[in-house]
Structures are given as structure tokens and as C-alpha cells.
Symmetry: none
Subunit: 210 residues, 4 copies
DNA sequence: TATGAATGAGACTTCATTCAT
DNA sequence: GATGAATGAAGTCTCATTCAT
């Protein structure tokens, strides 16, 4: 993992339906393989094999291994964006804070459970590889921006820097605990989720009194 | 990172003083290199070079690359153990919870700041590599055990399962936020540390009323 | 460049006018690409793209990459044949040797300048690839034959072996110097051309006294 | 062949006798393989195999394939430099021109005959690959410089530009004809060598009258 | 017949690990 | 015991060629 930043993020963006499908197959496969062995140990051949394609097909879409990671991160970001979109509109701001947090965390929990690859992207994009770290694709920071938008609705007067800080803290906390929750059985997952809500609601209440 | 689990954790535990020193040099070097490029991209040659030894010498101490990682994790665990030991004894339990948390987090902050390799070990040992994950060297869980001991002093009646859960949550949260704090400048580090205290004290207060 | 000798030189010789045109477009494209990056680095896709056709279309004309090269060499040979034809007829033999040489070299210079791909074909067909070398498409030897015909007119008594030798020498010398001349600016090109005439006229004069 | 110019020409220059030997083995192997299939088609594995070493050993000496080529060219240049050195001293300038040319060409003929790889280096470094062409390792120009030194002794008044031009022409001509001579049997080789002398002496006589 | 997506052999290169010195 | 040269498996990526549409 010491690649130079690659020229173009994607070799070509798939427009045909068939390409689209192949593209998503590859990303699904990448998610699986990354989730299984991590970014570095994942081989492009393994990803292609999981996607039931040839290695050549993979390289028609992605200029290199790193680009696969970015595309996956981007897809997750989109999906999380949609997830947030379902709340931020109109009445979200009128919900009690605790309900909002609870619902968002439930949705996030479902999302991460359904997308085990997210775990790897979360981790890798923040900690492991300086190359990745250096890139703009910092998933968490982007997710935090979405949260900030919500905070702004609840408390427009808040210092934007403080808002950013708090959002970042929440995202980090929610993410690690989500990941922690997946390390054991379903019961544990539920317990950790409950604690997460507990923790974050307690943390945010003083900043956003209803 | 798909090495077979290695037979023996260490080829030989250093007994001579000189060996001891060489061993620690190697671990220091590993910490540096891991911190710089991550586990996978770190080469055993680079580690040996940083330690100003030969690659052959490295392999006299460690059967393979993974063993270096484990030894480093073990050393960190020891160090954190000592860090906790300074508190858990005697009067720690008599401190107000907030003081205790604050002091422990300060100590932890100093430790992680001084040991950038910890970040990598934390991450890798939890998320990235199943081989590592599968091993008993789960650093965080061990740290959590230390915290549980403290909790047990404060509230002996607490359900042990709940205690374990809460300790795990605290350790995860403290770790990610610590790592988050290191991603920007010193001011940010201080702010995140403050938020971490804030967050955890609020979280624990209900469980351990003074 | 270790293809098996291909069964058939061309998959089909273009007979329709439209095919003819497509065929020549492909050869033009190949010349460009070869000239730019050399034979090995030239990709069939790049050639097709330069010719504004599909890769599939390219493979309808040529069984493999090597065949493109041969077809290009053949086309150059034809063109050079025509170039010679303009001289060899009738009165060419009555010109003073120096005029003849001068004119032929001028024509050759113009040809090579206008066809940068020739340079690559010249080189590759003689030195680089044994596969190519082994084939009958040795451009230079064929050009030499044309020159021999002229020599035979000037001096029918000359030993044919000597004639062949001298012709080969002339062609080699003219070719490298032509190529040398193209490595710098136009002034250099003119100077080298002058030296080439000088050199070859001096060389041939004793064999073909006027 | 579109590599970026590699950082360092050599990974390490061999100083130990054993390294020295291995280094030369590798260069010999490279010469063989290049001579056999050309630069592009030569594989680093084949070179290592010919040298009876592992691919890893090869990469201890050379950062990449291109570096092997350069090292080989450099070695040839050294050898040719020594070859010239035997003449340029003292009395070389007192020899009749024809004797000098004849002796140099004989020596060059022996050298090229004994080093078939030279043919490839000569060709590649001038014509085929733009990447190589672009590099300073233009063998022929360097050889030409050596010839210029001799010319300067014979005719110090000569315009340096003219001198350079003539030297370049001579080197090119000698090189191609030498290569031509190797395309058939020994008899042909002798004949071409004789013609080369003939040609060059005739060419140079007017510039350097005895 | 034309297209260009797909295939996969094979090239270059790295690096964990061994072992002769 | 120490050294570091040597090994070679394995990874990333390219590109000639095929073939479904």
C-alpha cells in the first residue's frame, strides 16, 4: 500500500445496464473480500474471482486496487447519505433528540450489519494506511458532515467548530461501537446498540436541549 | 497477512541483558515502522534496519512477522497495565469518578501520543486481519479487563456481564477518540480529549454514582 | 514478441473499396503508433483507436499483431519500389553516377521523412526480433535487390556476388544515416544527407566509373 | 517499455568479489537474452535463469529491467573505451589513416563478434524505444566522442561541428555494417569488413590527408 | 459484419524467510 | 552467534486475442 494516487479514480464509469451490474458485482465482491481479509491481504484476483469475472474485467473498471477501495467507500457514502436523507427532511428536527438518535443508530446498525465491508472501509480509511489516510475519501468525515447538517437545524447558533467536533466524536463513537457489536453474537449486538444510544443521547442532550 | 498461526510465539525469550536490549530495539523499530506505513506495508528488512540490526538477528527473536506484531502488542499491554496499576491500588476507588476517568484518560492520552505504534496495533488487532483477530492477543479486551477490576471496586454488586459490556464500550470509545484526536493538530487533540472525558463521565455516572 | 509464425499472412486481402480504405487506415495507424512507441509497446487497441475502428475490425484484417507489422513493411516496400521505378527506367543508366545517387537519396530522404514508421520497420525487421528476422519480409534485402538491378545496368560484367554485397552495404548505410539524420533538427538532417551522398558516391565511383 | 526513468541507476554497485561476479554473470545473461529476443521480449526471469540465479538476486542489483539494459550499455562503453585507448595514445596519430581505420575496425569487429549483445544495445539505444532513446545512455554518441578525439589529433584545425558530424557518420556506418556482417557466414563477415574499411577510408581521406 | 467487453496467460517486481559464510 | 545475500512464491497489472451480442 504505497501506491501513488492514481490518475483517474475510475477507468470508466459504467453506463450500460450490463456494465452497471458488473461494476456492482465487483464492488460487492470487493466488500466481501475486504471484510474477510482486510484491504492489504485482499488480492485483486480474489476479488475478480468472487465477482465471477476475470481479472481483466476488473481492471477495465478500476485502474488499480486502491481505486476499488475508493469506489466502495463512495458507494457506502452514498448509501449512508440516503439513510440520513430519510431523517433530515422536515420533521426530523421536530423529533425529540433521543428519538432521532435512536432511529439513526438503528438504521446505521442495520446498514452495517448488512454491509460487513463497511467495517473495513471505516477502519482502513482512518487508521491503517497513510496513503489511504491522505486521500480525500475520508468516509467518516463525510458522514460527520451529514450529521452536522442535522445539528445545525437543532441549534443554529452553535459555534460551527464545536458542531464539527461533536459530529466527529459521534460518528467515531457510533462506528467503533457498531463494529464492536459485531464481534460477538446477536444478543451482544443488541446490548451494545442500546449502550451506544444511551451514551450518545447522554452526550448530546446538553448541547441540544429539546 | 495470511500467515499460518506460528507454532511458538517467540523463538526465544531474551535472557541476557544484551539480548534484552536488542529485543527492545527491534520492538521499538517495529513500532516506528508500523506507525509509519501500517502492518502490511512494513517490511521485516525495514524493521531490522531501523533497529540497526541484521534481518538474521530479527529472525533469531521472532519466528515471523506476525510474532513481531504480537510481541509489540504484548509490550503495549504491559505498559498500559502499569499505567492502570498506578490508579487501581488503594485510594483510586475513593476518588470521585470524574477525577478517576480524567486521570486515566490523561495518562492514556500521554501514552498513545508517546507511542504512535499503539494506533496501528489497536486497529490491526481488532479489525483488519482475521489471523490477528483470531488470536488471543486482543489488546482491547485485555485493557477492558483492567477497567473491570476498577469498576468492581466501585460497585461490587454490578452484574459482571454488564460490567464487561460497559468496560468494553469505554475502552473502544477512548481508543477511537484518542486516535481521532491524533489526526489533526495539538489543539484538536486537547479538544477531543476534553470531549472524551465529558462523554465517558456522563456515560458512567449513572452506573457508578459517587 | 515471441509469437508463433502465423499461418496466413493476412486473414483476407481487402477487395472491396471500403475494405481497402479501412485496411490502409489501419496501416497508417500502425505506422503512427509504431513510430511513436516502437513495435512492442504498440498495442493493437491503440492501433485500432488511431484508425478509428474497433479492435474487432482490426482482427478481421490481420490474424495477429505481427501480421500488421508485415503488412506495413510490405506497403513500404511497394512504395520504395515505386520510388526506384521512377529512376531505373531507360535513361537512369545514362545519368552520371553521382547524379543518380543524389537523386535516389533525395527521394529516399523525402520518403523516410514523410513516413516515420519506416524507421521502426527498418530497425525491427533487421535486428530486434528473431521472429521477424526469420521471415522473408526483410525489407532491406528487398530494397537492395532493386539497387542491384540498377548496378547491373551500369556494369553488366560485375560479379553478381560482389554486386549483391555492394548493394547491401549501400542500403544499410543509407538507412542508418537517414535515421541518424532524423535524430536532430532539420539542419542536421541536411548535413547528414550531404555526407551520405558524399560517402556513397566516393564508395561507388571505383566500381562504376562513368 | 514506458517505464519512468528509475531513481537510481543501480541498486548497489558490487564491491565484493562475489558480488562482482554475480553482477557480471547477470550482465552476461542479459546480453545473451537481449541478443536472442531483443530488449522488450526479454524477461527478467529469463535473464535470471540464464545467469543461474534467482529473480530476487537480479533485483538486488538492478532496480528494474531498464537498469539492466543501461548497465550492459555502460559495460560495452567501457570495453570500447579500452579498445580505443589502445590506439589513441602517442603514435596512433602518426599511423597512416588507412592503417588506423583498419586496425580500429578489426578491433571493433572482434569485439562485436565476441559480444553479440552489443548489436541489441546499439539498435535499441538508438531506434526502437523512445524511453531508451531519451536517455543519456546513447552508446553511439559516446563512442563517437572517442573517435572525435582521434580526429582532433589528426586535424586540430577542423571545425568541431564538422568533426562531430563525421565521427557520428563513421560510428553509425561501422556499426550497421558490422551488424550486417553478422547476418550470414564468416566469409560474408570478412567481405563486409573489407568493404567497411574501403568505404570509411575513402570517406575520411579527404578530411585527413596524411 | 461490426463492436468492444471479456478473458487469462504472463510480465515485472516485492518481500518474508532461509542458510552459507 | 551474526550477517546479509539468495531464494522464489505470490501479487499487481497489461494486453493480445476471442466471441457474444
Amino acid at each position: 500500500m504505497k501506491e501513488q494516487p492514481n490518475q483517474e479514480r475510475l477507468r470508466r464509469f459504467p453506463q450500460q445496464a450490463r456494465s452497471q451490474k458488473r461494476f456492482n458485482q465487483l464492488l460487492d465482491a470487493a466488500a466481501e473480500v475486504f471484510a474477510e481479509v482486510g484491504y492489504e491481504a485482499a488480492t485483486t484476483n480474489a476479488i475478480a474471482a468472487h465477482a465471477k469475472t476475470s481479472i481483466g474485467a476488473l481492471y477495465r473498471f478500476f485502474p488499480d486496487k486502491l481505486a476499488i477501495f475508493h469506489a466502495l467507500a463512495a458507494r457506502y457514502l452514498n448509501q449512508i447519505g440516503e439513510l440520513f436523507a430519510a431523517f433530515q427532511v422536515s420533521e426530523a428536527a421536530k423529533l425529540p433528540l433521543s428519538s432521532y438518535i435512536s432511529q439513526v443508530l438503528d438504521a446505521f446498525d442495520q446498514f452495517v450489519t448488512a454491509n460487513p465491508g463497511y467495517r473495513v472501509v471505516f477502519v482502513q480509511s482512518r487508521f491503517v494506511s497513510p496513503d489511504i489516510l491522505a486521500m480525500d475519501a475520508n468516509l467518516n468525515r463525510q458522514v460527520a458532515h451529514q450529521l452536522e447538517a442535522f445539528f445545525a437545524l437543532r441549534n443554529p447558533e452553535q459555534d460551527p467548530q464545536e458542531r464539527e467536533l461533536i459530529a466527529a466524536v459521534c460518528v467515531e463513537v457510533a462506528s467503533v461501537l457498531e463494529i464492536l457489536s459485531l464481534t460477538r453474537d446477536q444478543n451482544f449486538q443488541k446490548q451494545v446498540l442500546a449502550e451506544t444510544k444511551n451514551l450518545l443521547i447522554g452526550y448530546l442532550q446538553p448541547y441540544f436541549p429539546d
